[in-house]
Amino acid sequence: MRSLNTSILTIITFLPLAGAVLLLLFPRRHRDIRVFALFVTLADFLVSLHLPANFHRSVPGFQFATDRLWISSPSIHYHLGIDGVSLWLVVLTTFLTPLCVLISWNSIRDRVKEFFILLLVLETALLGVFVALDLFLFYVFWESTLIPMALLIGMYGHGQRIYAAVKFFLYTMIASVFMLAAIIWLYVKSGTFDFVSLQNLITGGQVPGLEHASLALFLGFFVAFAVKVPLFPLHTWLPDAHTEAPTAGSVLLAGVLLKMGTYGMMRFNLGLFPEESQRNAPWIIVLAIIGIVYGAWVAMVQTSLKRLVAYSSVSHLGFVVLGIFSFTQIGAVGAVFVMLAHGVSTGALFMLCGIVFDRKHTYEIKAFGGLATPMPVYATFFLFIVLASAGLPLLNGFVGEFLVLSGAFQARALYGVLAATGVIWSACYLLWMYQRVFYGKVFDPENSSLPDLFGYEKAALWPAALVALAMGVAPLLWIEAIDPAVQTILLPLTQWIPLSGMIGH
């Protein structure tokens, strides 16, 4: 059991990659490739359930850790480990990937083998980001997500796919070189890449020259993460990337990739530079609130279904950033919960968009209307997810947003008031969109003969819907593990608050 606990993260992370390598050897028979990819991703999900089952919820700090020397000079360690935050992000990733395989079952017809190889490679990279505890290793995984994702968008996307892929790649690549520079600076001054030792050295004041460089370092990390989130005004790559990406790409992009940014802020910005986080929190919160409101307004006027969902992500991720930088226990727990809830429900929304696109080959809201008649099951799923996303109580969106708003009110009432309007806007644009797509008369005769959900599509939607419900009904199941982890993360910040007096209770 002990050896399993130290190697479980390695297994989970690299199982998809091993699957991808095996896929390389497969003959180009589409059916076998799909079945195998589904098998690998499902197996990975089942293995990853070992983590929540054996996770010690009350114990703070990193669990299932493994730490081996990878390269001696510079001393880079293969150091993996998870706390309550990364635990659920790992499970979210392994949960969404099999759904991505299912949703791509018939919609990917060309270069099928390459598609699933890229998807599996992407899964490994994403998992690595969440489990890496060595800054260098983290950067390696971080950058590795870029190529498969850009290729998925560029090779399998629609319309302006090449423009979108290049824009996505350049935005994130350029931002992350600043993070690399910051990481190297830290290494040169401290002699370690290890997150835990680095954190100890920084809190002990043992990193020479840090006081002069800390703002630059904070920003180096922050810019890389803010582009990924994306924080207003760095969000412009997101609508393009989402709109042009294939469905599975959008699901992973919204469901997991964006969380890399907020996870990074939480782990590295707060963890390594608590004082700078405090100092810079006001403008970051302003940007987050602008993102919440602006994202919602822009979503309202979109004519494309997928673009609407894309902008709703900008809005929802604003809540996450707000929650993190409120530096309140309740707000930060809420932020993590929103990350998970958004992953499930927006992931499902993108799947639903993809399903209708497969039938109609357009995302234009105008082209639909009255779809509830020919596709009742689809309409039901859609409504359920829309309500979850809009924050209906007893569904997953509500819990997170409620916690974040409580945290924001605690930090400063004005933040809470402004952000709360975002909840109203999101109900507006989602329900209005639902009305235009599903209610009324079927004016396009072609729409009246659209087939309802196929088996594999139902198989992809059911789990998402059930989890959305479970997260709304029994949020404690998740929060139990998140709570102590967030407490540890916030510890250096809460100790610092009374000194600054910037944010009162």
Partner: protein
């Protein structure tokens, strides 16, 4: 003074290469004119593999030879291995190329071998006149090789341009040697070092170092001495570009390392000169590459930029800068030679397919070739798990450890810009459809092996760089002593 037998062991790789070259030249006229010269190629291959083996014998016998003109230390062994490996890879890739281009001249292989003699000797020579002679041996071979597609005007242009500007640059280098002799009374690198350290800093020595940097700056294609590069790379045969963009550059960097750090280590004044050269090369190279549509020109500009990254290491403190530069030279050789071999294989008869548009749909036509080129391009960008990443990483770490913050920032911004034009090639390969229905491409054995070697080297340096880095660290210590 009669050289001791062990002296010959210390130039054994050079001897083997030279012998193989002479053998090639002797056998070549004996073959009928219509023979495809594959046998000559195999002979050259055997010679260069033997030279690699000889390098290990050489490594067992460290020390100086021939009255202190040659010095075998970890540093020279390292560059020997790099240069000879590049030679092997290029010879392997040339079989198919010469067949497709219908070039039936055995001298081609002979010249590669003679060029390798010069390049390897450059890395172990510690006497400036010998450095100059070996530089000339290597340069003259590459001048001729550049003009090997002799029926094509651009190839002639390439050779002529390379020759004229190259001789101009070597003249600078020679002038620098003369002034250095005037300033210190010696042409031996380690005697110069002692003289400069103990005596007062003379203007003459500073000018001498400046002139030598100009001469070598031309050879490594660093800005502002880079203008020849795109034209020469465009016209020269692609496998020759694979060779001359890596091996002679590595050799010239080896010489530059020895001259700057070992000989002129006590002169602080050249640091700002290198700083400027590095910043200029990175910026001009990358900006130039952004607008290229010919892939050979694009990689020519990229190689200018890479010379700039490497020069960043020169501006750093010696104990971190030298190992970083050595590691960079090795990774750059692996990925660049690989990229050019893919290009040379894809170019086809008369190098027809060398524009970016020709690469459309390569991901479909030749999936293996496209993946391999993608790995090399990602390595050139500096994506983790490839040699190019660690190369950049070590260079920037060395720069930061030496407090060169401005130069690091210039470098980091440059590597972000560079991502764009490498990415363009990947985008075209995978995301555009081919213009015409072209048949699937086969990879012949020679090309396959050479690609495998460079691919393995690139990934090895990216995943397990530890051993190579440790070696560069210890050999840099030896070199600086």
């Amino acid at each position: 003074m009669i050289p001791a037998p062990s002296d010959y062991l210390r130039i054994l790789p050079e001897l083997v290469l030279a012998l193989a070259g002479i053998l090639v030249m002797v056998v070549d006229p004996l073959l009928p004119a219509q023979n495809d010269r594959r046998s000559i190629g195999l002979l050259a291959l055997a010679g260069s593999v033997a030279a690699l083996a000889a390098t290990f014998i050489m490594a067992e016998n460290p020390g100086s030879a021939f009255s202190g003109m040659v010095r075998v230390d970890g540093f020279s062994v390292f560059f020997h291995v790099v240069i000879v490996s590049v030679t092997i890879v290029v010879i392997l890739a040339s079989f198919e190329y010469l067949k497709v281009q219908q070039i039936r001249l055995g001298e081609y292989y002979g010249l590669i071998l003679f060029g390798a003699v010069g390049m390897t000797l450059m890395s172990s020579a510690v006497e400036l006149v010998l450095v100059f002679i070996s530089l000339e041996i290597s340069s003259i071979s590459t001048y001729i090789l550049a003009g090997f597609r002799r029926r094509v005007a651009t190839s002639i242009e390439s050779a002529l341009k390379y020759f004229l500007l190259g001789s101009f640059a070597t003249a600078f280098f020679l002038y620098g040697i003369a002034l250095m002799f005037g300033a210190t009374g010696s042409t031996k690198i380690y005697e110069i070092s002692a003289a400069l350290r103990n005596g007062p800093v003379s203007m003459l020595a500073l000018v001498a170092v400046g002139l030598m940097v100009v001469g070598l700056g031309f050879k490594v294609a660093s800005a502002p001495f880079h203008v020849w590069t795109p034209d020469v790379y465009e016209g020269a045969p692609a496998p020759v570009v694979a060779l001359m963009s890596t091996a002679p550059k590595a050799a010239a960097f080896a010489v530059l390392l020895r001259i700057l750090f070992a000989a002129a280590g006590s002169l602080p004044a050249w640091h700002w000169l290198v700083w400027v050269l590095a910043a200029l090369s990175m910026s001009l190279g990358n900006i130039g590459a952004l607008v290229q549509t010919n892939i050979k020109r694009l990689l020519a500009y990229s190689s200018i930029a890479h010379a700039g990254y490497l020069l960043v290491a020169f501006a750093a403190a010696p104990e971190v800068g030298v190992p970083a530069a050595m590691f960079y030279a090795a990774s750059y050789a692996a990925m660049n030679v690989g990229a050019f071999i893919v290009i040379s294989h894809f170019a086809n008869q008369n190098e027809r397919y060398v524009t970016l548009d020709d690469y459309a749909g390569l991901g479909r036509r030749a999936p293996a070739l496209a993946i391999i080129l993608t790995v090399f391009l990602l390595s050139l960008i500096g994506i983790p798990m490839t040699g190019g990443f660690f190369a950049k990483f070590y260079v920037f770490r060395a720069a930061l450890a030496s407090n060169l913050i401005a130069l690091t920032i210039i470098g980091v911004i440059n590597s972000a810009i560079a991502a764009y034009y490498y990415l363009r090639i990947i985008v075209v390969m995978y995301m555009r459809d081919p213009r015409e229905q072209a048949p699937a491409m086969k990879i012949p054995a020679g090309v396959g092996i050479s690609l495998a070697i460079s691919l393995i080297a690139t990934i090895y340096l990216g995943v397990l760089p530890g051993r190579v880095l440790d070696y560069t660290l210890s050999s840099a210590q030896q070199m600086l002593k």
